[in-house]
């Protein structure tokens, strides 16, 4: 019988906790860079949040003449018009900024663009979002992210000691902040689907952290006298294979989405891809140092601690 290739080295003894200052330093720099990028460059909000018009077009007879298109649309007097070529050279995306003058002004602008495109160009997708809806979506997005984080925080708090909860949430903020910073840096459009990706990431990136924390808790019960630094190191190394392997399978699946997916989910899949990497990094190198920093309860005699229904964990 084929047992599979147990390729991941076991019994590793990476002294993560001894090197924690370097790892935290790297993460701190990344977070600061992310904040700086968000502050100075900002997110490239899509029309979901900013309002305006988005038109995806395809030329029926050959490649799109970008310069010609730019000239035509620039002369319409609808403000800033961005034109972005797509993978197929016959296709392009047109973005028109939100027009002053309320809801009907957006429709008028969209109509002008449609008329200017001419017969040879097929409109494959058109999205027009007015100021009322974009405001609501923005609000919904902020509420969703906050509620998801609060929900996850409550869950972790309920399942673990509070120190674990705080450490996990700090790691989560770290993941989300750096991912958003990356989206801003690479100028990805930030819309509803990207928020959905961030929410999924929030739920997912905590998984690896939970795997490590479960093991820490288990080891805390088993090795009552082991110094905390050693115990954390042991737990991280013991779970290293599953932290990396679980992330790999999800990464592979999302990679397929990134490579074969259309423009609509490119931002989504990139967010997930990058987020999985950062989430794995923080589960291994960041979450446990936070835990050390806050200290944990060592006396687990009695053993009926919070979350006891599932006593030992993987």
């Amino acid at each position: 019988m084929f047992k599979g290739v147990d390729f991941f080295p076991h019994g590793t003894k990476i002294p993560v906790m001894q090197m924690r200052r370097y790892f935290i330093g790297i993460s701190l720099i990344a977070v600061l860079v992310a904040i700086a990028v968000l502050y100075f460059k900002g997110l490239n909000f899509g029309i979901d949040f900013k309002g305006g018009t988005l038109v995806e077009i395809q030329r029926k007879s050959g490649d799109i003449d970008m310069a010609d298109l730019r000239a035509k649309l620039g002369a319409l007097g609808v403000g800033d018009v961005q034109i972005q070529g797509l993978d197929a050279t016959t296709d392009a995306l047109i973005r028109v900024e939100e027009q002053p003058g309320g809801e009907t002004a957006q429709q008028d602008a969209a109509k002008k663009v449609e008329d200017a495109l001419g017969e040879d160009i097929e409109i494959r997708r058109i999205e027009v979002v007015g100021p009322a809806v974009s405001g609501e979506l923005k609000q919904a997005g902020i509420i969703a992210v906050s509620f998801a984080i609060i929900g996850i925080l409550l869950y972790i708090w309920f399942r673990f000691e509070w120190q674990f909860g705080v450490a996990a949430i700090l790691a989560l903020f770290h993941d989300i902040l750096i991912t958003i910073g990356m989206l801003a840096l690479l100028n990805f459009e930030f819309g509803l689907t990207e928020v959905a990706a961030l929410l999924t990431l929030a739920g997912y990136s905590i998984n690896d952290t939970v795997v490590v924390f479960d093991r820490i808790r288990e080891n805390l019960r088993r090795y009552k006298k082991m110094p905390l630094i050693e115990l954390l190191n042991l737990s991280i190394n013991e779970t290293l294979s599953r932290t990396i392997l679980t992330a790999s399978t999800t990464f592979l699946a999302v990679l397929a989405l990134y490579v074969f997916g259309t423009e609509v989910i490119r931002g989504f899949s990139f967010t997930m891809l990058f987020g999985i990497l950062i989430g794995t990094w923080s589960s291994i190198f960041i979450a446990s140092p936070f835990l050390l920093w806050m200290g944990v309860k060592r006396d687990w005699s009695g053993a009926v601690a919070k979350g006891s229904p599932a006593a030992g964990k993987a």
Partner: protein, 537 residues
């Protein structure tokens, strides 16, 4: 952990089988499925607009206009009531959000109050036991009465206007001959229109957009619009602009129409026999025909005005009494205008104008491309993950792949049965589920390996692998479920589609990891001939 009672095995097999049966229609074309015998499940996944192509419009009602309309009607009602009661009054008008009137004789004030009281409609709710009126009447000073609509009254108006608008929009969209349009009220004052497979949004917008309030008015016999503009508009009359919206060609018309569009029973586009110009022919119902006949009979030789959305289309002179109850409207229409207007007139006027606040339209070709890309991503994603799992875990990896396939089947089956919509982000959710579902297997298998390394026998390693991984798998899936539920709650359209597949995927993952995988492993253990079971991983 490895022992299964017989009924459990049967139950698990039954669930998987049901999944396969209910997911199966999606493998065939719609026509094939319809030809199946009646007892077979036929429901297929419904595709979102982003995949099948179609138009999505979010319309907002003009509540300000609605309030204004109501106040105007209320003012006319007040005038009528006071005249009926033979009470003299002055200064009737709209002040802010109320109608005010000054009663001339102080002794009439109480009588007027009672007369106006008849206008008030109670809006009691027997079930809730609440009681409110749609408007209230107040005395201001000694001789002024103020009639003010209440907030509840207005809410009720908005609600009934929304219901009426939904119906009207539905009739108009149906006229376009599309299939399965979805038209629903959203929130207080919004209407969502989704028309699958239809991407001529311009036509859709034209047909939906216009209020199409058609009225027929008497024209003031002497005063022209210009004179009225310079001096004052005669009582009960109002200046109506021309179709171009300017004062040239404007008319002074009696404000209360002779007949309105509600009395129309039919409207059809056509051509004028003499000029060959596009026109609309219409027919009144009985009461409309009677009113119109009486009016035209009394006003032969005078003009009357045909007004659409408060703009004068034309003002022909009445040559003879029109008693048959039918007629035609001309007004410099193009053929398309005439077609659209006929649709709008047939379907009735909208209670208020609708503004488009959001539009998302996907052409059918892009939808098809998205489906193709989604299928490709799902296929490649599944193959890669399957390859990885088999490489890393051998036969047990195959078990994981079987579990994932059943997982996907179950998601598709449930979505088909409950009729939820598959969107492009929804496909992304499926692909993501493939990646995350095998995580459960990784956790179990890695634990088994660890137990084996610590010297346990195969059986006990497998036992504790499953039991100890349980909590972790639950924890990790529940955090993702929290995020998915938040998305479902707050999201709309495509994002909600993603939340649906993701949540279903999580439930399916928990199910397959602890039943399907475990069952396959236990069958494998049972199939071992030797007493000492070899290490599986």
């Amino acid at each position: 952990m490895l022992h299964f009672e017989r009924w459990k095995i049967i139950a698990i097999a039954a669930i998987c089988l049901a999944g396969i049966v209910f997911a199966m229609p999606n493998l065939f074309s719609k026509q094939t499925v319809e030809g199946w015998p009646a007892w077979m499940p036929k429901r297929q996944l419904s595709l979102g607009l982003d995949l099948r192509g179609g138009a999505h419009l979010l319309l907002s009602m003009d509540t300000v206009e609605l309030r204004k309309d109501w106040l105007t009607t209320l003012r006319d009602d007040v005038r009528k009531k006071l005249r009926e009661a033979k009470i003299r009054f002055t200064g009737l008008g709209i002040v802010g959000d109320a109608v005010q009137v000054r009663i001339v004789r102080p002794e009439d004030v109480d009588k007027a109050y009672d007369a106006l009281k008849e206008l008030v409609q109670p809006m009691g709710n027997a079930v809730l036991g609440t009681n409110a009126d749609d408007m209230q009447i107040e005395k201001v000073g000694s001789d002024v009465l103020k009639v003010q609509p209440t907030e509840q009254g207005l809410q009720q108006r908005v609600t009934s206007a929304a219901t009426a608008s939904v119906e009207t929009v539905r009739r108009r969209v149906d006229e376009l001959g599309t299939t399965e349009p979805n038209i629903v009220r959203q929130g207080q004052d919004r209407i969502l229109v989704q028309v699958p497979g239809f991407d001529d949004t311009r036509k859709l917008k034209e047909v939906i957009g216009q209020t199409a309030k058609l009225t027929f008015h008497a024209v003031h016999p002497q005063v022209t619009a210009e004179e009225a503009e310079q001096t004052r508009v005669p009582l009960g009359y109002k200046i109506y602009p021309s179709a171009e919206g300017d004062l040239v060609g404007a008319y002074v018309l009696q404000e209360v129409p002779v007949v309105s569009g509600e009395d129309l029973v039919d409207a059809q586009p056509g051509f004028d026999q003499r000029t060959n110009e596009p026109i609309i022919t219409f027919r009144f119902n009985q009461s409309g025909a009677r009113k119109f006949g009486r009016f035209t009979k009394a006003n032969v030789g005078e003009p009357f005005a045909i007004v659409l959305d408060n703009k004068v289309l034309s003002a022909p002179v009445i040559r003879e009494a029109i008693l048959g109850g039918s007629g035609q409207i001309s007004g410099n229409f193009t053929v398309e205008d005439a077609n659209n207007l006929a649709i709008q007139l047939r379907s009735g006027a909208l209670p208020t104008s609708l503004t488009i606040v959001e539009e998302r339209t996907v052409g059918p070709s892009l939808g098809a491309d998205s489906i193709e890309a989604g299928e490709m991503a799902a296929l490649i994603g599944t193959i890669t993950v399957a390859g990885f799992m088999i490489f890393a875990y051998g036969l047990f990896g195959v078990f994981a792949v079987v579990a994932v396939l059943i997982n996907l089947t179950l998601i598709v089956a449930v979505m088909s049965v409950i009729g939820s919509t598959l969107t492009l982000p929804g496909i992304a959710g499926l692909v993501l589920t493939v990646g995350m579902a095998v995580d459960a297997n990784v956790l179990i298998y890695e634990r088994i390996r660890e137990e084996l390394r610590s010297g346990k026998t195969s059986i006990s390693a497998i036992e504790s692998g499953f039991s100890k991984a349980f909590g972790t798998i639950l924890d990790s899936n529940l955090t993702t479920l929290i995020a998915a539920l938040v998305m479902f709650w707050l999201g709309s359209g495509p994002v909600r589609g993603f939340a649906v597949t993701l949540s279903l995927g999580i439930f399916a993952t928990i199910f397959t990891a602890f039943t399907v995988t475990r069952l396959l492993v236990s069958l494998w253990v049972a199939a071992q001939k030797t007493r000492k079971i070899p290490a599986p991983l």
